[in-house]
Every structure is written in structure tokens, then in C-alpha cells.
Amino acid sequence: MSGKAILQFSILFFLISPSFAQTNNNWGEIHGNFQVDAQYYNPDSAIGAPPVPEKMLMNAFANIIYTKGNFTAGVRYESYLNALQGFDPRYKNSGIPYRFASYKVNNIEITVGSFYEQFGNGLIFRSYEERALGYDNAMDGIRLRIEPFHGIYLKGLIGKQRYFFDEGQGIVRGIDGEFQFNEIFTMLKDMKTKISLGGSFVSKYQPDQDPIYRLPENVGASSGRLNLIRGGFTLGGEYAYKINDPSSTNGYIYKPGEALFLTTGYSQKGIGISLSAKRIDNMSFRSDRTATGNSLLINYLPALSMQHTYSLAAFYPYATQPNGEMGLQGEFVYKIKKDSKIGGPYGTDILINYSAINGIDTLNLNDSLTRKGYTSDFFKIGKTVYFKDFVVQVTRKFSTKIKATAFYANQVYNKGIVQSPGYPIIYSNIGVLDITYKAGTSSALRMELEHLSTKQDQGNWASVLLEYTISSNCFVAVLDQYNYGNVDNTKRFHYFNGTVGFIKDATRITLSYGKQRAGIYCVGGICRTVPASNGLTLSITSSF
């Protein structure tokens, strides 16, 4: 659609729309959102900022959804002119990679076009978007959701996955059923224990064009899950099995894959405990066996470590290793009551988290004939440490004006495994002091002091952030991250950055200027690397 046509259409729409307002919704409704991120890059070879020949890069997208009764349709327009540093450069130019129509009647919902879906925890199927990561494996095809009886939820889908502005070669199809026993059987309705059982089967087809190996064209994976909840106790588990799936990720071996995910927890007012454990063995599942990076992934293997928001605590983030890992995580959340001796006048929040992830125990088979790769004892934990994280966080409000959070983390990060071979294991200690002073009814000053100490990699870092909220519509912030402990004293840089932001209802505009250190940005175990940069960033987001 040409720019001129869009402009004419929008003016026409704007002029005739008052008539919509009068007929009061016989025409349905249109809503949406949009986001534009643009960055102007200054060359800065000292900090390792790569040269940007375009000088300015921009990512943008807009969603428009139309609803009328049981009918919904929508499109998303995306534009990468060119993609920002740190995003896959295969996102290029503009277009509409996402469009769908959906209709719901009785207990059946059908969607044609693009859709997202998840089976259970996602161990064999998860199609989702994470716009901040540039992650999008939307399906393009048909999806059916049916509730044939109260408490039985069935899903069926078939399609191809999104590959930038195109589609992957493989065809993916799947079915999922979930049975909520307390809803199905009326005599169980008031039973204190809630039980739900689920199972799914997913299969992908990709032609075998390999000249050397005879590759399986249809690869199936199945999973079963069970969840039990009684009062404050929860217990859940999901097990997945995938038949042989030689791919570039696993080195073209014919070993089947397995995954197990277990969670348990207890909570009541004021206290919460959760424990989870997982095992992954050869569970990379893509609709194109030659795909690399974050493209064409069919499943989602959740990372078991705590998701950090403090910048230096997220300095060495863990990324799930689909070829094999075993991990556990425990979290304890507690609120010391207000007006108690230790709690203080407003109570005190405590959070303790421990996570540890190791490799799996493998025995290489060295068989070039069957290419089974290796065997691995299911219950043995591998000796190689991949990641460890111990966190203590205390939050306390001291008065109506002051509150603070103190945070400490001790981390072990196997950079050679998580990033690329040849790097050492990094041992670090991180401390954060986060204080907010409420100056007036709508103004506040927040100071975040962070420190990371390590003897490996780049050495120690210190970070200071000052954020001043002028009113509920405006804020300014300054940040300085200083690598004062770098063994190489020519690399002891200050990454100094200033931001100003405006917010009005659902619209937010921010402008930042300065240096940004190289880093890894992760969500859920999927990461993207952001190189160092120096320049001006503009970000606009709105919903309507």
C-alpha cells in the first residue's frame, strides 16, 4: 500500500469517523499500539562501538486490532530501517509479517493467519513474541481451540513459522488437551485438591536435502503434564520426549531428546516458598534443522535462574543450553509484619533465591555408524558448573518519604559454556543499594548504587543511577557505569548517559544521550547481545 494511499485513507477515516461515534458501535471497534525506537550512533572505537554506516538505525512496529462481536482481525506492520544494533540484521525493511482473523462461536474458536500459542510449559511447543528481544516465532496457518465439555480444553494447530519477513521451510502441527478434573466432574467441584492433567503431541516436517545423512523428515515430540493444588501447596510436573532430530544445534546426532520440569511450592499470607528442578537432554527443536541463533525454534526451555533487573546483577545472564543441562531453583519470599520489632512501622520484605545449573553427565559413544552421539544417565548431574546464583534482597519503608532496597548476589558464570569456548568461569559478588525519597505528592528522587566485584573478565564495575521524577508526566535520569577495576587501564571507561522522559496516559516518549556499555539482554533464557554504543536514542510507545 503506497504512502499516499495510506495518507488518503487515514484522512478519509478521520473525517467519517464522527458518524461511527453517533451510531454507537454498530461498526465495531479499532484499537492498537505502536512503538518506535531510533538511535543515532556516534563513532567511538575506544569503547568498541562498531561503526554504523547508516548513522541512524530504527525499529518500529504498530498493531491494529478490529473487533466486532465474536469476530476479531488484526495486523502488525513492522519496520527495520535498518535494525538497531543488537537485533538480528536479517530484520530488514518494512512489511506486514503478522495478520490474522479469528471467530468465536459457542465453545469453538478458530484463528486463521498468524497466531501465538503455548502447550503446557512450552517444552515441546511455544510460539510467542518478545519485542524487546527481537524474538518472534509466530505461526502462520490455522489454529482451533475447543471446549467440548466443561473443563476439557482442546487445541489443534498447523502452520509454518515466521522467519523474519518470510516463513521457515518446515511445517509444524500439534494437538494439546488439558483436563481440569474439578470442572469436569461435578462431584469434584468442591474438592479441596485441584487436579489437572494435560498432554500434547507436536510434529514437524522438513524434506531431507542432505547429501550425506539420511535424515528423518517427520520428527515428533510428545509431552505429558500433571498439576496438583491443595490449599497453599502446589505440585506440578511436565515430561517431554522427542524422537531423533539431527540438526546443526546438536551436531547431527540421532539421539532422542528428553526434558523434565518439576515445580512445587507452598504459600499463605505473608510467606511463599517455591522450588523447581529441570533436566534437559538434547531438546533443541526447530522447524528447520539448519537454523541458527533464535530463529525457527518450536519449543521453549525456560531458564531456571532468577530474572534480574538491577543492571550489574544482570551483567552475566544465563542462557538455557538446549543440548543439555540440569538445574534447580529455590525462592523464599517473606513479609515481616508491620509494627513488629524487626518489621518496623510498615513491614519489611525479604526475598532469598538460590539457583544452580550444571551440565548433564555424558558418555560419548564415538560411533560413526549409528551416530547416537552419547548416553546420559537420567539421574546423574554433570560435573561442569554452568551457573550459580545466590540472592538476598531486603526492602523496607522507613517513613512516608523514604524507602530502600538492599540487594546482594553471589554468582558463578561459566562464560565458556554460555557464550563461546575459551573463556574462564567468572566468580562475582554484586551489591546494590536502591533508595527512593518521596519529595512531594508527585515528585521523587531515586538513587541506585551498584557494585560488581570480580577477578576475572573486565574486573570491577561501579554504577550510579539518579532518577528524578518531576511530576507524574515527566522524569529525568543520569547514569554512570564505571569499569574502574579493569586490568587493562586503558579500558577503564565511564559510560555516562542521560535520559529525559514524558508520559501522558498510555503514551511514553524518552530521549537518552550518552554511552552504553556492551551487554547481554535476556528474557526467559533467550538472549541478545548488544554492542557498546555512543549516541542519541529516541523511544516512543503508545496504546489506543
Binding site: S2, G3, K4, I6, F9, I11, F13, F14, S17, A21, E29, I30, G32, N33, F34, Q35, A62, I64, I65, T72, L81, S94, Y116, E117, Q118, N121, Y128, Q180, N182, S196, I229, T234, T263, Y266, S267, K269, G270, I271, G272, S274, S276, P302, E331, F332, V333, D349, T395, K438, T441, S442, S443, A444, T469, S471, S472, D505, A506, R508, S543, F544
Partner: protein, 169 residues
């Protein structure tokens, strides 16, 4: 570039359109399935508060300003409920990585809200939420009358003024 500018102009005009810029226009929440903390499936069309205002707050355990906003509101929630009968529905967009931790987290912080989990972002997408925290205010007729993205200290007081208006106080 021209296409992009036209596209942005189109969307800007769309957002100015009186159809939804006007307050009180009957924008109801879409019917999407989310999960309750007890594992059961809940349809958002069942969200109800007996004709009193409703606040729908999208958050995540890893979103600091979201947790700050919900903690600040929980300090005054009892007073809010007494004065206006408002109900806060907190929708967590935590995915499978953190889903099992949501209930212990909510209880550990002693929050009193009606909490649901939207693990694959279906409800978030249907409500056109971009980033969290994102808060919606529904009037007694369950129509969306206000929405806000991000959180600054003191925003909850402004929200309460709007809630009181909708509750007719």
C-alpha cells in the same frame, strides 16, 4: 521513509479519532482465557465487581516498577475498598520461567488482589499492552475509561482520584 511517515501519520490520526478518544465510549475488555493461581482456566469476560470500578494492572515478578506500584497500592488498598468498593485485578505476564513462582511471590508480599497469569501474552496482546506496568480503569459498566503506562511514585493517588470519580464519590 515516506511509507513509514504515512504509517505513523495514519496511526496518530487513529489515536485522535473521537470514537475512542471520548470517555465513556463502550470499550469492553476482550474475552481471553487466562489462568487463575489455582491452575483453573478463567475467561476475562467473567471479570466483575457488581457495578463498582475495576482496576486491571498488568505486571510481572521481574518488573521493579510494577512491584513497587502494587506494593504501594496494597498499603492503601483496604482504604480504597472501603471508600469506593474498587477491585484490583493483577494480571501477571510472567512466562513458564516464573509462572510457578507467582503465587508464592504474591502471598509472600501479602497482596490481597485477584491475580491471574497470562503466560503467553494472549490477554496482553488483546489489550494492546506494550510494556509493563500498564494499568486500566474500568467504570461500573465494565467499560475502559482510562489507561496508563509506566509508574511514578504518587501515581496511585492520581488513580484513586479517578476511581472515586467513577464510584460517584
Amino acid at each position: 521513509m515516506k511509507n513509514l511517515l504515512s504509517g505513523i501519520a495514519f496511526l496518530f490520526l487513529l489515536s485522535l479519532n473521537p470514537l475512542y478518544a471520548q470517555e465513556g465510549k463502550a470499550r469492553k475488555i476482550p474475552a481471553v482465557e487466562v489462568k487463575a493461581l489455582d491452575g483453573s482456566t478463567f475467561n476475562t469476560s467473567s471479570i466483575d465487581n457488581n457495578g463498582k470500578p475495576i482496576i486491571i494492572d498488568f505486571w510481572a515478578t521481574w518488573c521493579k516498577p510494577c512491584v513497587t506500584e502494587l506494593t504501594n497500592i496494597s498499603d492503601v488498598y483496604a482504604k480504597w475498598k472501603k471508600e469506593t468498593g474498587v477491585k484490583v485485578i493483577a494480571i501477571s505476564i510472567d512466562d513458564a520461567r516464573n509462572t510457578a513462582k507467582v503465587a508464592p511471590f504474591v502471598n509472600g508480599k501479602n497482596w490481597d488482589y485477584e491475580v491471574y497469569i497470562d503466560p503467553n501474552g494472549d490477554f496482553k496482546r488483546a489489550m494492546n499492552v506494550n510494556t509493563v506496568p500498564h494499568t486500566f480503569l474500568l467504570n461500573g459498566k465494565k467499560e475502559i475509561v482510562w489507561q496508563h503506562n509506566s509508574y511514578a511514585e504518587g501515581d496511585e493517588d492520581k488513580l484513586f482520584e479517578l476511581v472515586k470519580k467513577e464510584a460517584g464519590k
